[in-house]
Symmetry: C2
Subunit: 196 residues, 2 copies
Amino acid sequence: MSAASGASEQKIGTSESAQDLDDLPDMLEAKLWENPCPFTFRINYLALLYNTPLYSWIQDTYGLKRHEYVVIYSLALANGGSARDISRTSGFPKNTLSRAVKRLELMGLLEERSKAPGGGRRQALRLSEKGWKLFNETVPVFESYEERMLTPLSKGERQILFELMSKVVVGAEDWADDLPQAGAKGSTRNTKGETQ
Amino acid sequence: MSAASGASEQKIGTSESAQDLDDLPDMLEAKLWENPCPFTFRINYLALLYNTPLYSWIQDTYGLKRHEYVVIYSLALANGGSARDISRTSGFPKNTLSRAVKRLELMGLLEERSKAPGGGRRQALRLSEKGWKLFNETVPVFESYEERMLTPLSKGERQILFELMSKVVVGAEDWADDLPQAGAKGSTRNTKGETQ
DNA sequence: GTAGTCAAGTTCAATTTGGAACTTAGTTAT
DNA sequence: ATAACTAAGTTCCAAATTGAACTTGACTAC
């Protein structure tokens, strides 16, 4: 993704794609250093930089869309989970996931859905042999990209970052689900935005 | 957003929406604590939790879609920026922004586009009086939400977090734009994912 | 100046998306 | 057991999204 390259005066000699080398908008500088919400900008920006190339690689290599791969990834971490669970933890609406699951089944990446795990009429989804294979092939790429993203940090710094972010996420249990108006109705509110 | 509530045993007595109180999937636990990419999961998850309610509030209150508000926000930080700049820093494709700009003009939130600022045939976009008003009304909400998100951290911890994330973002200049296959062509590659 | 090049912005068309309504299957109450 | 309720998953369709092609205007070289 082009939104990435150098900020202003640093690195001039590095031979590269040429066109989008140094002409990075001042706007980026402004968003980084004069943003009233510097934290969330960084979060969003990093998510952008991380997700874009990876999912476009997944698409090109395996013909899977983002939400389809997300199903695979989710089940790899919590096999037997339901569509609902994936929706809750990823932010994709349930009908999108319904379609994704159907397609993955068709492709033989999931086993036939078994019946209820926890409550209600939930369906337990499981990866097939083939699904696991795909996951095992792809995780390393995701891992190495995360690794790469963290390159500028020392071991200790990574640990601290991890702890701080964990704190924030855990704390989120309190504030999420009641802000401005959102969440008025109790139903599953998924407007936009996704997670792996 | 429902993906938010309590993890497992904490907070039982807090009277709430009832239905999505404690039934948060184990999947979330797995994604948080057994994820091969713990850092990027946190990033994506927080982005989800932060963006969803805010943009849905913007939508309800001002009738602006996310990418439309992003234009406002971007120009507020870098007035006179071009559509290209916004695309580069936000991840939205340029045609989407083209439409957004058109609509914002129609709504009187932008001034008439002036000619070239930097190079080529770039158009300088500027907020109108009305646009500024809207921005000034809304930023506080965004700010307070960020504040709220950071509640669990002390002043010092926030500072550290800010520094670490800045390091990562600045370092991104090197790795972004060359991973798996992505970026093969030199052109503006915007597949999916957005930033404020 | 005129031709050629380049990229910013726009338009078009095909696909994708997700809200709303619906179906289906558990669970609870009577 | 039957009825009423609840929520998971699915279908439908109108609306939104975006890749690709195109247009436009500015710089460059001759």
